[in-house]
Symmetry: C2
Subunit: 231 residues, 2 copies
DNA sequence: ACCTGAACACCGTTCAAGT
DNA sequence: ACCTGAACACCGTTCAAGT
C-alpha cells in the first residue's frame, strides 16, 4: 500500500511513466485471470475484466493468448500444476489416499475455478504427472497396465464427480448449515417419496471432509478387492 | 411438412395471420432451447437464438422464463425427467445396472446438453425420482438409510464423472478413432513417464460402452462388498 | 395479458495504424 | 515487437409503450 524505499539503486527509469503493468506476458495474464475468478467467480471473467486488472487494453491480451478459450486452458493447467506428487510410502493405501487428498487440495484451492479445472480436459503434460503417479501406485500394487488404466479412469471419475459436487453444492446434496439442514430435512420428509423421506436426515446434511473420506475409503476398498487377490 | 386437411372444422381463425408460433409458453421456449443446444452446442444458446427459432422477439421470452439461468434450469430438468425408472427385478445387481444405464441413456440423448444436466444441481422434484429409485434398491439390499445415502452419493459421483468424460472426450482419455489412437499412443510412449509409456496402448484407446460397463461392474462390486456381509 | 421499440451496458475479436 | 482506436457483430435485460 505504501511506497517502499529501495535498498539498492533502481534500474534507470528514463521517461517511461510508472505503468501499472511492467511487462505483459502469458503468465501475468493467466495470473490476473485467476485473480478475477477468485474475486468475482468464473462468470466475471472476461477479456476486459482481465485487462482491467492489468491496467491495459483488452485487445493487448491477444498478443500473448490466442483468445479466451486459450486463456481458460492456461488457468486450468496452472491450477493443476500446483499438484505436488507425494513421496511414496510403500503402503498402496496411504499413497492413494495422499494423492487423492492432494488432488482435492489443489482443485479446491480456487473453488470458483474448480469446475473449470475438473471439467476442462487435462490436455497438456501438466495433467500427465498425476496420471503417472497414480499408475505407479497401481503398478506397484500388482495391476497390469490394462487394469491400471481402467482403475485409473474409475478413480478419477469418482474423484472428479465428488469434487464437482463439493463446489456446486446442489440442494439435493445437503449442506453444513444447521438451519438449512432443518429446512431441507423438512422438505424431503414431505416429498411423498418413502425412501427419500426416511433418509431425509442424512440427505439434508453434508460434511465435506467426512463425505470425501467416506468415498475415498470405498474406492480404496475397490482397488484392494481388484488387486488384492492376485498378490 | 405439408399441410394437413383437417377432418373437423378448424376453430375460427379470424384475421390473425398464421404466425410461426401459435402460443409462447415456458415449455415451448424450453424445447426451442434444447433444439438450439442440439444443433449448435450449448455455446450457441442465447436468448436471441432461442427467440429466432420461435419467430419471436428475444424480450418476449422474459414473460415466461425469469432469465437465461432459469431457462437453463428448465432444460436440465426436462432432460432428466425423461428418465423412466426401470421396474425392479428382485436382483439388486440387475436393478442398479438398469438404473445406471437409464441415467446414461437420458443424459447422452442430448450430448451437447449433457454437461449442463450433469453439472447443474438437480434441484427440483424431477431429480428426486431417480434418487428415490436408487435408495429403494439400496434399502432392499439391506442398507441402513445412512449407508444408503453415502453409497448413493458415491455411485452418483462416479456415474457423473464417467458421463462427463464421455461427452468432453479429453485427449488424456483416449478415443475410438484408429488413426488418433496410433497418434496418441506414440505421444504417450515418448512422454518420458515410464508408467504412462507402458500403459500407452490402453490409455490411447477408449471404448465408451465397454468402459462404462467396466466402471459399473466396479461400483456394483463395491455395493456388494459393503452390503453383502450384513445380509 | 402478452408483445416489442428503444435503449443500456456489456461481450470477444479483427485489423489497420501508430510507437 | 508490442500496443491501441475504431469498429463489428454480437450479448442479457429493463422499461415504457403499444395491442
Amino acid at each position: 500500500m505504501t511506497d517502499v524505499t529501495p535498498t539498492r539503486a533502481d534500474p534507470p527509469r528514463r521517461g517511461r511513466p510508472p505503468k501499472a503493468q511492467a511487462q505483459l506476458s502469458r503468465a501475468a495474464i493467466r495470473d490476473a485471470a485467476l485473480q478475477v475468478i477468485d474475486d468475482e467467480g468464473s462468470g466475471g471473467l472476461t477479456m476486459r475484466s482481465v485487462s482491467r486488472v492489468l491496467g491495459v487494453d483488452a485487445k493487448s491480451l491477444y498478443h500473448h493468448v490466442a483468445g479466451k478459450d486459450d486463456l481458460l486452458d492456461a488457468v486450468a493447467e496452472h491450477v493443476l500444476e500446483q499438484l505436488r506428487i507425494p513421496a511414496p510410502t510403500g503402503s498402496i493405501e496411504a499413497d492413494l489416499r495422499a494423492l487423492a487428498h492432494e488432488f482435492r487440495r489443489v482443485t479446491l484451492a480456487h473453488p470458483e475455478a474448480a469446475t473449470l479445472v475438473l471439467t476442462r480436459q487435462l490436455s497438456s503434460s501438466g495433467g500427465l504427472a498425476p496420471v503417472e503417479a497414480l499408475l505407479t501406485v497401481l503398478h506397484s500394487a500388482g495391476a497390469t497396465p490394462e487394469d491400471a488404466v481402467h482403475l485409473l479412469r474409475t478413480l478419477l471419475a469418482t474423484l472428479i464427480g465428488t469434487l464437482l459436487r463439493e463446489v456446486s453444492a446442489g440442494p439435493l446434496f445437503g449442506t453444513s448449515d444447521p438451519d438449512e439442514i432443518a429446512r431441507r430435512r423438512h422438505t424431503l420428509e414431505n416429498s411423498g417419496l418413502p425412501q427419500v423421506a426416511s433418509a431425509a436426515p442424512h440427505l439434508a446434511r453434508y460434511d465435506r471432509d467426512r463425505e470425501f473420506d467416506y468415498t475415498l475409503d470405498l474406492i480404496i476398498d475397490l482397488v484392494n478387492a481388484r488387486l488384492g487377490p492376485r498378490k
